[in-house]
Amino acid sequence: MKKTRTIIASALACSALGLLALAGCASGPDAAPSGASSAAAGGQPAVELQVFAANSLSKAMDEAQELYASQNPGVAFADTQYKGSGELNEMLAAGSYADLLVTASKGTMDDAVERGYVDEATRTDLFTNELVFVSKEGSALQDVTLDDLKGGAYSLCVGDDSVPAGTYAAQALSTVGLYEPPAAEAGKTGAAITGKGGAYTGITPILQTSVGNVCKQAENGDVDLAIVYSSDVFRFGGVKNVGIIPDDAHKPIAYPGAVCAGSENAQAAADFMEWCLTDPDAQKIWQKWGFELSE
């Protein structure tokens, strides 16, 4: 029996060694990027910003970060997480670290404020966007309106409750009776509801977990129509803008940004946010990708 223990002990020692190696390597990936950026700064203390941004910002934000990092050699960016705004909040809940959070709706940012993930004093609206119908490139559809969806002639894809584009879509669809808000909001439609927790009636849309996935469904031709932001049309290509959803059918689309409560680089994050909003070169990037700066 003792011998058995010896064997188990040796096997455990083996795995413990592995774990040690794991711990040893842990500093590796973290150290590499900051090392690179401090070299760029010529020895100055470098800052690495971790940004959590709404999925729709993916390509534009990458370009902006690249430009900002080249203008400010002391700042580097970790791999930015582009997810549905609700998912970003869940990641923060699970303990992931971020310096700056940019969501695609006031509601999701309210959540983040309420749950203490961000510093409310730094909250600023950064961008606005527009909700549109898209279909696969080359589709014959055009000038689609909300009313056209009645009767279920078209298959539809929208974001789920965690995706701001999905809640805006639900608000818009409620104005033509295709979405039934939950009991607490009974009788209200459009901008008056949150677009969460209700049910679609008379239509069964496919639900996706980020606006990028929603757009993909249309691009693949899995659905006739998808409701996404106008910036997504340009972001992916492969889809066609076939109708604009009137902006009074849903809450105003805003992208609030705020510095995260646990940020170790709060000043650098706030500076970057200010730059996004005021620098003409940044504006050029946003206008290229279809994000209107917030007033």
Partner: protein, 509 residues
Amino acid sequence: MGAKLAQVVVACLLAAGCAAPSPCWADDSLGSVEEPAAPIAPASASGGQAVERAPQDDDGVEVSAAGDAALIEGCRFAVADFARSQSGSNRAVDGTYQGYNYYVGTEPDNLAVVSTGSMAVVYVPAATASAFRIDLASAADQQLLQRYLVALDSAAAKGSARLEAVADWRFTSEQRYRAGGIEFRFDMALQEGRYYTCVIGEDGGDVTASSHPAHAQLAHADFGRIVDPHAVAIQGEATGLEWLAAFLAEVDYSPLWVTLRTTGLAIVLIFALGLAAAYFTLRLPPRAQDTFDSIFTIPMVLPPTVCGFLLLLAFGRSTALGQWFIDVGFPLVFSWQATVIAAVIVAFPLMYRSARGAFENLDPNMLDAARTLGWSDPRIFFRIMLPLSWSSIAAGTVLAFARALGEFGATLFLAGNYAGVTRTIPIAIYFEWMNGNTDVAVFWTIVIIMFSFVVILFINLWSRRTTKYRRPVADDGPASGRSRRKRLGGDGALEAGVAAADAGEGGAR
């Protein structure tokens, strides 16, 4: 250096993999894959030939692959530095409301066109117009400009509203142009050395507001410069090998390293833990054995998302354990270690089950015989049990490796998708596809298929080599080796076992 090495390795792998079906792959990826970097009008879908592009639908306008320049053969001017703005900004510039504005650049004298969806206002700076003898009143020149702009705009539109659809075209070289209650202002130096194009109500109001009497839905704007045709070199789209080389040079190879690191470390841990667990459970009383067996096997039965979710709950900020890990500066969630933990948990049962099955099938008499000869347990384990069950263990290793390599659900939950840290190849494939980089997703798919094939082939070859003793010995008759081993008992078994141990030593150690 790592990146360069990666390129070479991957290029070699690719070359090897494509050797047989090479022409198809290279062509396929050109034809079927979207290339966001080079938006070309859909007419060019047939791909390949740079010469065949564009002209077809844009009546003789050659557009560069990057979409920033265009040339009409024989025309006395060309367009360069073209950029499309999907939207502008209604934000005040330096505190003053300037209308809906587009930032153009640091150089004055830009060609500009602003579209309201129904009307397009084209601005050609007076200096440019006279330099290139462009008469904005002449239908011929208007048509030339229109051809240029439509071609460039269509190439850059990617499914958004196009100039092509606009019926009402206006041409001006005035910096302020009024139409329908709207004033278009071009080449405005709103800040020092910064030139803007603005759209504002004649009354100075915001025309994008639906309450404004001259309300206009501003679709988009295009900017460029009119240049000498000789100054424009139209770069065709790279084709075939050139395209492949450019593509391979641009790909971010970090998912490969992350995957190798994760899978390599995970398989070492799984190997050790799986053998230990199999050995350990066999020595327990039957009831405890069943319980532990269920616990060790359950990650294989559960969907990976459940494993990921439970791990996230266990190690996340919301639990004392997770908080403790965060406090000691070793956060497990969304870190590189998390990929290894997820892979180990999910792939471990495969190793454990294979090893246990192999150990159970060993002849207990043989082990007892070894004990009577005074062999220690470690010696029995390493010299009899391991070599005799080696082929099963190797099979278990292959399966566990495959599972760890392909781990997606639990990894995404626990480790997320951080490029260079936790983005493994399976996660890269999903997110690259989702982000519209289908060609990169295809690339990683090919890499992972070839990589898996090579590794499994290697393990199979190795395991065959280390189980040589199973093959009939030349002077021992063809079938007797295998069948005799099964019938063996007592001393004979020990003899065979020891012989096997000697044969398999290289593999076991």
